[in-house]
Symmetry: D2
Subunit: 338 residues, 4 copies
Amino acid sequence: MIVAMQENATEEQIDAVIEVMEECGVDVHRTTGAMQTILAAVGPTAGLDITKFEVLPGVMHVHRISSPYKLAGRAFRPQGTVIEFPNGASIGGAQVAIIAGPCAIENREQIFAIAKCVNAAGGSFLRGGAFKPRTSPYSFQGLGIDGLKLMREAADAHGLATVSEVMEIAQIEPMLPYVDCFQVGARNMQNFNLLRELGQVRKPVLLKRGIAATIEELLMSSEYILSGGNYQVILCERGIRTYETSTRNTMDIAAIPVLKKLSHLPVVGDPSHGTGRRDMVAPMAKAAVAAGCDALLIEIHPNADKSVSDAAQTLYLEQFEKLVGELQVIAQAVGRTL
Amino acid sequence: MIVAMQENATEEQIDAVIEVMEECGVDVHRTTGAMQTILAAVGPTAGLDITKFEVLPGVMHVHRISSPYKLAGRAFRPQGTVIEFPNGASIGGAQVAIIAGPCAIENREQIFAIAKCVNAAGGSFLRGGAFKPRTSPYSFQGLGIDGLKLMREAADAHGLATVSEVMEIAQIEPMLPYVDCFQVGARNMQNFNLLRELGQVRKPVLLKRGIAATIEELLMSSEYILSGGNYQVILCERGIRTYETSTRNTMDIAAIPVLKKLSHLPVVGDPSHGTGRRDMVAPMAKAAVAAGCDALLIEIHPNADKSVSDAAQTLYLEQFEKLVGELQVIAQAVGRTL
Amino acid sequence: MIVAMQENATEEQIDAVIEVMEECGVDVHRTTGAMQTILAAVGPTAGLDITKFEVLPGVMHVHRISSPYKLAGRAFRPQGTVIEFPNGASIGGAQVAIIAGPCAIENREQIFAIAKCVNAAGGSFLRGGAFKPRTSPYSFQGLGIDGLKLMREAADAHGLATVSEVMEIAQIEPMLPYVDCFQVGARNMQNFNLLRELGQVRKPVLLKRGIAATIEELLMSSEYILSGGNYQVILCERGIRTYETSTRNTMDIAAIPVLKKLSHLPVVGDPSHGTGRRDMVAPMAKAAVAAGCDALLIEIHPNADKSVSDAAQTLYLEQFEKLVGELQVIAQAVGRTL
Amino acid sequence: MIVAMQENATEEQIDAVIEVMEECGVDVHRTTGAMQTILAAVGPTAGLDITKFEVLPGVMHVHRISSPYKLAGRAFRPQGTVIEFPNGASIGGAQVAIIAGPCAIENREQIFAIAKCVNAAGGSFLRGGAFKPRTSPYSFQGLGIDGLKLMREAADAHGLATVSEVMEIAQIEPMLPYVDCFQVGARNMQNFNLLRELGQVRKPVLLKRGIAATIEELLMSSEYILSGGNYQVILCERGIRTYETSTRNTMDIAAIPVLKKLSHLPVVGDPSHGTGRRDMVAPMAKAAVAAGCDALLIEIHPNADKSVSDAAQTLYLEQFEKLVGELQVIAQAVGRTL
């Protein structure tokens, strides 16, 4: 941490800041310039609350100079993390993984048709929602564990691994038999109690970026899981909220290479939520692969227009199959397989 | 719901859209203009997913024309809602309420000193955090129920009502004896399971706007609580995330009069989180009262710089007392008391 | 400027960064910590492009620690700037000034009626647009210099000073006889050629914050004018663009006290553009005064609904008169007059 | 335009709205539902100011249902626009064009080295800045017309077309002999006077999206140029401002397919400004091509770290050559050449 004092800061103010720094257990290096005094904290700065220093009298700016995350940082595992799944698939290696499925599991016929399609297209992961709290209290809320059982059966029948969203701690235990990967939704990215519990689990966690979360905050949230000993975390860019309304969210494609640079964790792109529009899923899926993502998360449904939720962003199975074919060429163009 | 077709939409496309609308159970009124055809849905449109129509072939725009919320709307209770508390205080009436306290309850001495100060300054509500999940897994996490017991004692000793944040469903029951008002934090504004449970409770709920939530989404979230039969909801503006970094959040003061216009629910301003800076709390508290808020939520601490959390935005007790005095004059200037 | 190196930065990388810093003409102080090396630039850092250092190999973060602006900084004139006008009015002193008028000057009758009303209500400034480039090429574009002549006559008849927007350098000269204050619109906040020319003028400039400008960028733009020797700059908060759509812009009320703290320049609030909604002008005008603004800019029109532009945010004259009366009480509550 | 009245709107309010609509010259179709009345404007609605209706008593929402732009819309030229240049190159056809050059033209040696490199890599367009107003008044401001002469010479020597930014109307005439394409910068996207003048020119205009402009606003600005009779407009996505700070701007890759869908105009991606970071230019250039852009705008410099401006986002010539090679494979993967 660096504290830059105002040009007219008094010696009393400078001493007071040094005292607070020292109380926090760090050593202080002082640089007295012609214009300004700078105080550098040296030592265990990870737990320091920098905003606290910003309001001390005479302080101009405070900057954190070390990463607030450690385990998620690229330096912790420079070669990158590859996560293996029971069905033999992996995320983070040379192959770009395809994770696909319906927003909500609706019935046996639907999920089996989808599983068959995912496998036929070359995907290895089936994703479906079982708990669907919705913005409106008047909408469909999901099949729960019964839905997960159906998804497990369909996945096993087609050699797929399963991914489903966990909404609260109490769901972790009952979900365990049915999911190969827990998804944490954007709204729960900073549900730290849930993250801490998932740190105790020994299954992969796909952590979605919050709709207004910075890349640094996403990495801090992954640190919660990692610090519990669960190193199988996958990060997901799924669009952020901006002033632009022509797409539902603004998919921050640059977050993919930025995350790959800052962290060793695999990165997934979600063009379905990232755009909220079926007609934009294909170009954005291609863009995500071109920018270096390790996997794609795509919503599909045999009768997309009648999907009980997220219909607007859901691909028909034929659209999905065509897209996967096109993505294979893009993947090769960036030195990957798919 | 209004569906505006593209200028070159075909009759087949128009018929297909009408069919999907009718399947959703609404009647369709068609206006065929020289340039464009417009389809208006008439009937039970509350559950319609408008985004689903946006991607149908030939559709240009879809607009919702009725409010997605009903119980939260001003029309439901034009005279406004006043919420009464056991200590005789109320929120939503002529008097602007003061809710104050520490970010985290730390110990008996701290919370009693604060309770005394709040009462002396004329405030009626003591707020303190007991469960404190933090952005960093390496920070202080709160005293839990023991903290709530201390707060209850301190509040009772000084005639105050208590407010504390509930983080998950499992905390509701144990918190009940100690809190007069549940606070739902910004990160949980769309934790619909939690909101639904709070709809079953018969105590007031102070619902904070999410950091990237629209005003409409805040009202939709309040609808979750209201639709469970709990009509005692208080809305809170606490700053939204924008590109500006000179304050931690951008406090959307206009949200106060907008919410007062759209809804009958009382509105609280939180200048502490709204700015994240101690030196900005006073001007923004004044602005919130001038703009018509029904209450203020202010973080205070006897030794603000050493507060275990949110130190930067916490007022010293003397600063708080001075501010309340100044606010009384502003309240009078807008026809309120304080 | 502080350059924080990555933990694993090599000596070669550190030396290379030091070399580039020295080529920029600054001295370098090196602090070698257990984890990280920190390089502090000492000397003439105002012209340094910090982004250039961010991409050098081995660099983790770069922070500017001195203000990029000097003349606009509060330290340059701690007592604050008061700007005097020929009609005896001033902006920046104890009195909160009222600047009001139509979005566009339309005809003699309109502007005289407005001038009379402004004076009667106690305002001292008449503002009207003469050049009105519009988002759509199919809309009304303003009366030009003829409009300014009308405004000048109306202002003189009622003892008012005039404010009007200058859109390009070529307009400065012809506008000079008619305006007491040049307004620079939000879209021109970073039209540096125009700002530089206005630095040569010896009349006050009211500089509006760009719709996506940071507070620091606004101050940097004011520095362009100040550095030309024109110290009569007034800053204006008029709303920024965020994801929220219930108001046209999000008025950043906190920008008012932040600017007052960082700079000695007077600050104006514009609740008309800040909200874009007539029904929100009054509460936001009150909030701006409560938060410490030095003046308000309000759009008014005798027949607001038929104003040729910005009708939605324009007050009727009666609404304006009523508002000014209410504002006087708020001004007193914060120790000002109006 | 559709006006949705509030549920409790009175007949007087409805009649008043109809009257204002009719005064604007449109016919009104009224739909009286059980809950709500809806008024649809039929006729010449292009010039209507919808915000004006939003504040009329009894109005709930107003929606525009026809595009505010006509000439820029895809329907105007469904097959798409291809723009031809004197050197035989084109933008908008099957080949993805490469436009590259320095942020600022610095000297003969620099611009000739760059022109040679662009040509060798297979690019057809040389872009360089001659007028460089900067955020800080203390920085380098460009070589002006002398710089353009150098660029013209260098371009002619290597068979390239030239692109340079025009900052104000007075520069158009003197620039004409030297540029094959005028660039309008993000800050001037709504400088309507400049756009109108460029509508009179018969050379292509590359129009950059403003840092806070919506896609609709970008199209409206292009309409200004098109409506003057200049149909050679190229749209450019170059990053928008959001809360995320790990890249300088957030490059809205989805804007590329959205613009291609809404408009017939060619679309350029600018990964240099879009990210502000040299290490992110390559992945984002690939993403832009994968998403369907018609050209790329890339900043390059033989000694990038010592570029007088935008050093952080500028590629070295070797990096550029390598990138173009990689882009060729991506272009093929999406059915284009490069």
